[in-house]
Symmetry: C2
């Protein structure tokens, strides 16, 4: 495995025309963290409090995932959007916790599903504890999330988040039906990532407008911002799965390839390929007959057809739309942070 | 496998002192079905409508389980309790659907977990479709259930059902931690079945008092009725797992034994056993080293120590408590049906 990673690092240089972005990226996430630091203390404490259970395996397993260094981007979005709309109450921290619990439950179930071995550079919960506890602790966090929403008491928030949960599950099932299916179109792929990823980003942002009691126009704007940001985020995630940057971050590269997951870098490369290349994709992705060197060859085909860059370009398009969604809010620090976080999500590809 | 079943049938005769109960059992479930027949038509249609999705695998997989002949006892309890409290609106059918969706989601996740091969005499969804879709379609039904509750709009109902869902997940995880653990006490076992099974029975009954806008006393009475009935139901389920009756119904016998699941028939038999028997349980249930004939030997030990009958006796105790819970409601057809269903749940062991 180390040899593969080192090969990939040699093969795929970071796209250096954007290398100067790295400072901005770091400062964008730092700005966001600073903006919501006080609220995140409350969120982190609420997470710990609400994953408690007399059944010790639950906090043990949930804590493994929750402590494993995720950026908590989704709850931070809820908190930052609440600031953008001038909300000054306390409900947003509880709802940000709900968002993180739904996300964590999805990860736990997704890991069972994908049999992936590495997330955030650590062993996944299902590798450590097995599939059984991962499914059930996911169910617990999901239920706990709804209990928290009920405590908050807004039927509108409940509607937004229960709908997002349905859509996420639909998206995950849809993704299964596209697996190893080379006729998956770019549109079908977009449907999957909108549902499985962007819907929760959208809900995370929208609920802030609800607790802030803002106009439907502002609510829709934040929902759209989250949706576009979420699409860009997932496009970059899928590009990173074939990139040297991912390898240097200690995450596994090529998970999607090994599982026959049809993502945009693969769709674009195979669409642009000749007959011989089509046979290669059929063998490796449809039949999942993969040998040493196949991942490297897949990446070289993506580079030949520039499909990873093309994926990043799509992400830029959605990133621009996300920024445009913020236009109705007044200029200032809060809007700047939310605009910069779009660049952060895109430029982490480098 | 057929040979095992036939051996078990020879070994374990139905407890014939109660054989005359069979007519009453059939009539009890028929009475309940007749009482709620009209409402169940609505529930069945709502189930079909709400499991629809453009992702065809979802209705396909969910339909497999939902069409596979379960009695829909839980939603029938919601409907019958609504009649008991004189509710004449339409909300109860939607909420009965929520209850069935939560139950179905739990089954889907439980099948993944237990790798059991037979439920209701058919192949489980995860055997047919694999674990991945089962987890995700379970998530979909669970989310859909919350969407339905939100449509109903009662925060009190949402609180009861989201709490029940958390408790169920906790119970399932707790059950994992007792697996292959011979020091599991009867009390610990009771905690598991209260959480994983009885909590949903309790919620299914309690919400009827809520929609009927009845006193807290009646609400608590129905909750307690459901809880006691649910405990009795699971005790009998666990007895059936070692019984000839189960074998004749085309369900697998000995699933719990094979998985090292610690249920009351096993707890009582091992507690009453000698040193040699303790070694047998250690090998088969703790180390899960099982040979041909071990299941039959386990059953013979349970018969020797009368632990299956003792389990049924415990169920009777909870059944009596369930009937007592109904005492505050006026006598009549509705109360009779709910009392008789207690006997149905217990006497299906014969």
């Amino acid at each position: 495995m180390d040899q593969i990673v080192s090969n990939i690092i040699k093969m795929t240089k970071p796209l250096d025309q954007n290398a100067d972005k790295s400072t901005n990226i770091d400062s964008a996430i730092t700005q966001l963290q600073e903006l919501v630091a006080k609220d995140m203390l409350v969120v982190n404490q609420t997470i710990l409090d609400r994953m408690k259970s007399p059944v010790v395996l639950i906090p043990e397993l949930a804590g493994h995932l929750i402590a494993s260094g995720g950026k908590r981007l989704r709850p931070m979005l809820t908190l930052a959007c609440a600031k953008l709309v001038g909300y000054e109450g306390q409900r947003h921290t509880k709802l940000a916790t709900c968002v993180e619990f739904i996300h964590t439950a999805t990860l736990l179930h997704d890991d069972v599903v994908d049999e992936s071995n590495l997330r955030r550079g650590k062993e996944t919960a299902n590798v450590v504890w097995g599939n059984k506890p991962s499914v059930l602790v996911g169910d617990f966090l999901f239920s706990r999330s709804f209990e928290l929403m009920v405590e908050d008491g807004s039927l509108k928030v409940l509607k937004i988040l229960s709908n997002a949960s349905s859509v996420i599950a639909e998206g995950e099932v849809l993704q299964l039906t596209t697996t190893s299916n080379m006729s998956t179109t770019e549109d079908a792929y977009l449907e999957v990532i909108k549902a499985k990823t962007a819907a929760l980003f959208a809900a995370a942002c929208q609920i802030s407008a609800v607790v802030g009691e803002r106009s439907e126009k502002e609510e829709e704007a934040l929902k759209s911002y989250g949706m576009n940001l979420g699409i860009a985020f997932q496009l970059i995630d899928d590009a990173l799965d074939y990139s040297a940057k991912q390898a240097t971050l200690g995450k596994s590269v090529g998970d999607d390839f090994r599982e026959g997951k049809i993502t945009l870098p693969l769709i674009l490369a195979s669409r642009r390929g000749d007959k011989e290349e089509t046979e290669f994709w059929k063998r490796t992705v449809v039949k999942l007959k993969q040998d040493d060197g196949d991942l490297e060859h897949a990446i070289s085909l993506m580079q030949k057809h520039d499909s990873i860059n093309a994926t990043v370009e799509r992400a830029r398009y959605y990133g621009t739309k996300a920024k445009d969604d913020l236009a109705i809010f007044s200029n200032g620090k809060h809007r700047d942070v939310l605009e910069n976080i779009v660049d952060f999500c895109i430029n982490r590809a480098y």
